[in-house]
């Protein structure tokens, strides 16, 4: 094809808008100052890297470390009358969180804060185990399927994120409440119940529904990365599909399982709305207590100390988990 024909074909391929955009971009990119800037940047790739890293660090410093440092400082200060913060260093807040009311032989170990923290960890654990059981199969399926609908299915996984959290929890109130679906269906089968609303079951159910995508997506991601060759080679060596899954796919998807579990656990333990809306009188969690101490009692120092203790406990747990699973592997790749 002659050059002229080629060009005619090119322009015929482009719509007017595309041609305009093309011209605009080539115009912009060829402008002298832009060219010079790009070249300068290329020459200073090191500088560029430093700027990028610097931005990240600055972001962390301003929005994470600074507030955290403030909370840490607050936790050692004291509440004055009317919620005034008195800048007097003392360990009183930690003392009341960790030491007050702790009996050892008289059975009652720990105080309200520690009990609620324990309860939060328990809910976090239950939620993590349940999401793992429910999330592995869809995650695995999405990772393995060749279906052209995979993107659509992935979209469906994240679709619930488009519905605000509070609305989803209220929906559960309707589903599990007195005259809700669950009670009605159980009634048909002859099981009389007052519904599960305002119980532990409701809290964990709500959390599982909300956090499931955080389990499915990492599992999907790590299963999708497993080369078909691994599974096929296992089969050629005599492994039944089930055996091949157990020996090969499952261990190779462990990074996804750990990543998902950690995400879900952290989010579940720190959840606020689920226990507040779906939980019963005994189902408070640590976020609720901190929030109440912060807002209602106006005791910022005590609330900060609670937050710090919570953070330390969570961090310790994850570090221990890391020892067993090896998180570098999870997040390293």
């Amino acid at each position: 094809m002659s050059e002229r024909h080629q060009r005619a074909a090119d322009s015929a391929d482009r719509t007017g808008f595309e041609r305009y955009r093309y011209r605009l971009w080539t115009g912009v990119l060829r402008a002298e100052p832009v060219l010079r800037a790009i070249q300068a940047l290329k020459r200073r790739e090191r500088l560029l890297t430093a700027v990028q890293a610097g931005l990240g660090i600055a972001w962390m410093a301003v929005f994470l470390l600074a507030p955290l440092a403030y909370i840490l400082a607050l936790s050692f200060w004291q509440r004055g009358a009317g919620g005034v913060v008195v800048q007097e260093f003392a360990l009183a807040n930690y003392q009341s969180i960790l030491l007050e009311d702790v009996q050892l032989l008289g059975w009652q170990i720990g105080n309200v804060y520690l009990l609620i923290l324990w309860q939060s960890l328990k809910f976090g654990f239950l939620t993590t185990v349940t999401t793992l059981l429910l999330g592995y199969v869809p995650g695995y399926f999405l990772g393995r399927t060749q279906s052209k609908y995979r993107s659509l299915l992935l979209l469906l996984v994240v679709l619930p994120f488009w519905v605000p959290l509070i609305i989803r929890y209220y929906a559960w109130i309707l589903v599990m409440g007195n005259e809700g679906m669950v009670t009605t269906i159980l009634g048909w089968v002859g099981v009389e119940s007052g519904g599960f609303l305002y119980t532990e079951v409701a809290v964990v159910t709500g959390l599982v529904q909300v956090l499931l995508p955080f389990m499915i997506l990492p599992i999907y991601n790590s299963v999708a990365k497993i080369d078909d060759e691994f599974v096929e080679s296992a089969k050629t060596m005599g492994a039944t599909p089930l055996r091949a899954f157990y020996e090969v796919t499952l261990p190779l998807s462990l990074p996804g399982i750990s990543a998902g579990s950690i995400l879900v656990f952290i989010l579940a333990v720190g959840s606020f709305m689920a226990p507040a809306l779906l939980g019963g009188p005994a189902n408070s969690m640590v976020a609720n207590l901190i929030s109440q101490t912060f807002g209602e009692s106006f005791d910022w120092p005590l609330a900060s100390a609670m937050a710090i203790v919570y953070l330390v406990v969570l961090f310790t747990l994850i570090t221990v988990f890391n020892r067993f699973v090896g998180l570098e592997e999870v997040f390293g790749e």
Partner: protein, 419 residues
């Protein structure tokens, strides 16, 4: 600090003068969601029955802490001259409260004085106080604390004293409110109450037999086990339980002879009642859900929410103030620290206390006014106490301040079944 002690003592006289009729009319207002949670009234003179002068309310160790902030507030000097500014920065509850205030108070005020009111809104007392605390002086002129919030606001030095000389209509306030002194700050007045309400009893007449007046004892009957809902804040629980036990909730002694013994009795009763509770609510939306789908048939609540449900056809739901009385709250106006338009703000308060303003505002809000203004609409509001104020009880904020740590943690223990 001396002011603080004096103030508490100085408030103890008389009956408060609100009177009410309990029946329909009211509005669902979203700000109530958190409003009442922080809403408690401190030291409203008439309700204290002299108790505030008693030993129970002294805060001798707390006074050191308060001195600094109380000092700050009193020394905040008069900013702004004696003439009207062009604008006024107004920070209020959002939602339907804001709508009502805009229509019945702010717009007429703007028309009359030619002042532009710049509005902003909050959804909880602690957010509002945190914002005022962290914003530069002069960011707000008029703010809207609840009575309990105003106690914190004064202690934290977030508000300017109101110069009563500039508020010609101050005398329209109910006497009890006129003398209300949120943080025992001597002669200085920091808050201008606007309206008040209660945390009264809610019952479903399909399930609960009998008719008012009820006793709070009703909420200790095991026949309502699993169908009882109560407000989930320790200070309300302790207060209402004390009422039901016939104690003065601001002394908490009853016939036991000491606070320690008295509060133990209250805790015991709370623990007993806890067995029957299906859910402690903390927001208006939760009340609506619980009562409307029959999860709860008895408990406490806010009149505005219940009235809204009645308007939606829930004729079986009723709101009543029990014979022992009910926890009272009020929302107030206050002038933010460092306001440069203090005079304008005071004129705004003066305008708000006009009878005709209150007469149109109050029924829209759904809560009776803190002034003496009245009308058939106002008298029809459920919180309008027909007994002349005997059933409307307010919490002493210093008493609360002194004991709330213990109340909170014990209530949590009760909830966890560890009491």
């Amino acid at each position: 600090m001396d002011d603080a002690l004096d103030g508490t003592g100085g408030n103890s006289d008389g009956d408060h003068t609100t009177s009410t009729d309990s029946s329909s009319r009211g509005r669902l207002s979203r700000r109530r969601v958190i409003g009442a949670s922080g809403a408690a009234i401190a030291g409203l003179a008439g309700c204290l029955d002299g108790s505030s002068s008693g030993d129970g309310t002294e805060t001798s160790d707390g006074s050191d802490d308060t001195s600094e902030s109380a000092g700050t507030t009193t020394t905040t000097s008069s900013s702004g001259g004696q003439e009207m500014a062009d604008t006024l920065k107004f920070y209020s509850w959002g939602g339907s409260t804001q709508e009502a205030l805009t229509e019945h108070l702010i717009e007429p005020f703007e028309d009359e004085y030619g002042v532009t009111v710049e509005q902003s809104s909050f959804s909880s007392q602690d957010k509002m106080l945190a914002n005022v605390r962290s914003s530069p002086d002069g960011s707000y002129d008029v703010i809207m604390p609840s009575l309990s919030g105003s106690y914190n606001a004064v202690k934290q030095g977030l508000v300017e004293p109101i110069r009563l000389d500039n508020v010609d209509t101050w005398s329209n306030l109910l006497p009890a409110f006129q003398e209300y002194n949120s943080a025992a700050s001597g002669d200085d007045h920091y808050v201008a109450p606007l309206y008040y309400g209660t945390v009264g009893m809610v019952y479903n007449s399909d399930e609960v037999s009998g008719s008012p007046p009820f006793s709070w004892q009703e909420t200790w009957k095991d026949q309502y086990s699993g169908a009882l809902t109560l407000e989930g804040f320790a200070f309300v629980r302790v207060f209402t339980t004390a009422l039901s036990l016939g104690m003065d909730p601001n002394v908490m002694e009853g016939d036991t002879g000491s606070y320690e013994k008295g509060i133990e009795k209250v805790y015991d009763a709370m623990a007993e009642q806890h067995e029957y509770v299906t859910k402690y609510w903390t927001s208006g939306q939760e009340q609506t859900t619980l009562y409307s789908n029959d999860t709860a048939v008895l408990g406490d609540g806010w009149s505005g929410r219940i009235l809204a449900l009645q308007e939606d056809g829930y004729d079986n739901l009723h709101y009543t103030i029990p014979e022992e009385g009910a926890f009272g709250w009020a929302d107030t106006f206050a002038i933010a620290k460092g306001s440069e338009r203090r005079y304008t703000a005071e004129k705004f308060l003066q305008y708000a206390y006009r009878p005709e303003v209150q007469e149109s505002l109050s029924p829209t809000l759904g809560y009776p006014p803190a002034t003496q203004a009245t009308s058939s609409d106002i008298e029809a509001l459920p919180d309008f106490d027909p007994s002349g104020g005997e059933r409307l009880k307010f919490q002493n904020q210093q008493f609360k301040e002194e004991h709330q740590d213990d109340w909170n943690s014990t209530f949590e223990k009760i909830k966890l079944g560890q009491y």
